[in-house]
């Protein structure tokens, strides 16, 4: 499989007064066509900024740098504004956190859906309308043809997010980046929407980068999982490897915070990770997680490197053997 998205050493810096906030501190990942990569981590770890950086939609104040940022062989770091406009919404789509406010209140659903296709492709309006109806049905909206003349305020949050998903699919993109697409929705439909995304990803053979808190869904749909902490990747590997043998103490902590179907036994007390994320203003020496880590030791204040073994990467002073020991101990404790 050749990679459609290649990111190497991506950094996002935001000037704050006369200091600099290092929001994303050297992230690398790649995505193949038809692959689902889930990015997890708590609020403020740089997940959203990573996705906005790839899209070229960072706020004006933020500075982006990377050794490599390629989409389908196109160097996005050097792409002109024109080239980016040709890619965005066309071959690289994004779905946002806030379905309630992400649609323009002044235009109908149909107008907004058709617009993206008419903008990128030379098709007649009827063609775009057909595609809109087809996709609205695909995302599970009933009476799709009638919905086209409705305004966003006439739809519920869940329906609006479905419309956003349909909109991101209008031009048949190769990659979709979904930034916590269900955070603002009712719990009852969160999993529905995520599974819908996963289904569509398989059906249209797209790459999907899904940013989410929902580890339960991650376990079901991810091919690969990337765990972020304080603007860095702390663990990265196949979903199977990360869920079965989490090598980073933060990943283990996250998993204990959330029930995972088939893994968390009934009646199990859910954990929490004490402490707060360190300030990202200025440089961080050593492991960023050490102040909250239950197994921190001398040397953590200097260790900051991503270890790799068998396609599994983790940023911890513990080597593979020791880390696997901890993972196994955790597994036992839960049984």
């Amino acid at each position: 499989m050749s990679n459609i998205l290649e990111v190497e050493n991506l950094r996002v810096d935001i000037p704050v007064g006369n200091q600099t906030l290092h929001a994303v501190r050297g992230i690398s990942f790649s995505l193949a066509r038809g692959e689902t990569l889930c990015i997890v981590g708590e609020s403020g770890c740089g997940k959203s900024l990573t996705s906005l950086a790839v899209m070229g939609l960072l706020p004006r104040a933020a500075r982006r740098s990377a050794d490599r940022l390629e989409f389908d062989g196109i160097d996005l770091m050097r792409a002109s504004r024109r080239q980016m406009q040709k890619i965005r919404g066309n071959r690289l789509s994004m779905i946002f956190q806030e379905p309630m406010t992400s649609l323009n209140p002044a235009y109908t659903i149909g107008d907004q859906l058709e617009e993206v296709m008419l903008w990128h492709q030379k098709v007649p309006r009827e063609k775009a309308r057909e595609r809109a109806v087809f996709l609205l049905e695909k995302v599970g909206i009933t009476g799709a043809a009638k919905r086209l003349s409705q305004y966003p305020h006439q739809l519920s949050g869940g329906l609006r997010q479905r419309v956003m998903i349909a909109m991101s699919l209008m031009c048949g993109p190769s990659v979709i980046i979904a930034d916590e697409p269900t955070t603002a929705l009712d719990v009852t439909i969160q999993a529905q929407i995520l599974l819908l995304l996963s289904e569509l990803q398989r059906e249209f053979d797209m790459g999907l980068v899904l940013i989410t808190h929902d580890l339960g869904v991650v376990a079901r749909i991810a091919d690969r999982v990337m765990v972020m902490y304080a603007g860095q990747v702390v663990e990265h590997g196949s979903a199977k490897a990360v869920f079965e043998t989490p090598l980073h103490p933060y990943t283990r902590g996250l998993m204990e915070c959330m029930p995972i179907p088939g893994k968390t036994p009934p009646g199990q007390h859910l954990g929490s990770i004490p402490g707060i994320v360190p300030s990202l203003i200025g440089e961080i020496e050593g492991c960023a997680f050490r102040d909250r880590c239950p197994v921190a030791r001398a040397g953590c204040e200097r260790f900051d490197e991503l270890r790799r073994a068998d396609g599994h990467a983790w940023r911890c002073i513990m080597d593979a053997q020791e880390a696997r020991g901890h993972a196994a101990a955790r597994e036992e404790a839960h049984q």
């Binding site: 899209m55 406009q85 965005r88 992400s102 323009n104 305004y151 909109m167």
Partner: protein, 304 residues
């Protein structure tokens, strides 16, 4: 929609009635018309004759109802000064005022909206500051004074525009600039604030994520939402220009209803003043109605 319309119209009629009642009672209380007409040396008998002729000897309420009955049929009585009916007088003067108001509105919009958008697009830069300075200047200068400056510069020094009168469209250029510039600042700030707010909205980010050009994002997705409060203010400003052109029409000698109002007040020409007050009120009410409907058209959330 029809029910809403009927309700708004009913309310509008009620407001018109109230305005006419208040004007009528204030004008009746403001002075003795008979002695104003007859002069200071008139005998009581002469005064009584004038009162009888004008019907001023009747009770107040009877006079009001009589006037109202006439007004409803378009008869506002005769001017006490001109040998003309009030209705004719106003109809002859109204086109000049409408032209002035429309031109001022054009000046205002073509200054305020581009400046406001530019300022919002690059907030806290020199462009923003420049736009703000232009606005502050407009607000700080009394419009009659700015009008006089314009006359000195363009009519006296350069001699390119006529200083006074209303016989050609050229005569309206300077008054329209004076009146329009004065109304620009609030409109510009509203455009700027609305635009800044809208540009920070999630749906603008969505529009960028769709790969649309800056131009399309600004003019299709942002402007339509930012313009809603601007439309309401524009309509109200139009009303202000109709009612508030009294000073500018006087400065530039434009034969419009503003000038007529000023003349009539100084001459205590009560029937004319009365009719003009009602006219301004009706204009305001109609314009507010129009602004409501335009808003409903622009903002689907109001439309039901």
């Amino acid at each position: 929609m029809l029910g809403y319309l009927a309700q708004r119209l009913g309310l509008a009629v009620l407001v018109c009635l109230t305005v006419s009642l208040i004007t009528f009672s204030l004008l009746s209380a403001s002075g003795d018309i008979a002695s104003a007409i007859a002069g200071e040396e008139a005998t009581p008998q002469q005064l009584a004759e004038i009162r009888a002729e004008l019907g001023l000897d009747r009770p107040w309420l009877v006079r009001y109802l009589g006037w109202l009955g006439g007004a409803l049929q378009g008869d506002f009585g005769d001017s006490l000064f001109f040998r003309e009916t009030v209705a004719d007088l106003i109809i002859h003067r109204l086109p000049n005022t409408l032209l002035l108001a429309a031109m001022s509105l054009g000046v205002m919009l073509s200054l305020a909206i581009p400046l406001g958008m530019l300022a919002a697009f690059r907030p806290n830069t020199w462009i923003d500051r420049l736009a703000l300075s232009i606005a502050v200047l407009g607000q700080a200068m009394p419009n009659f004074w700015f009008g006089l400056i314009l006359i000195v510069v363009f009519a006296l020094n350069f001699g390119v525009l006529p200083a006074s009168g209303s016989s050609t469209t050229w005569h309206f250029i300077m008054p329209a600039i004076a009146l329009g510039y004065y109304a620009t600042p609030p409109m510009m700030r509203l455009t700027r604030a609305g635009m800044i707010e809208v540009l920070g909205q999630d749906y603008i980010r969505t529009a960028h994520a769709k790969g649309l050009s800056m131009k399309r994002v600004l003019f299709k997705h942002a402007l339509r939402n930012a313009i809603i409060p601007v439309v309401a203010l524009t309509v109200v400003q139009f009303g202000n220009m109709l009612g508030g052109s009294v000073v500018i029409e006087t400065v530039f000698g434009i034969q419009g209803v503003g000038y007529l109002a000023w003349e009539s007040i100084t001459r205590l020409d009560v029937p004319v003043v009365q009719a003009l007050m009602l006219l301004v009120a009706v204009f305001y009410i109609v314009l507010v109605l129009v602004s409501d409907f335009v808003n409903a058209w622009l903002d689907p959330k109001i439309r039901k």
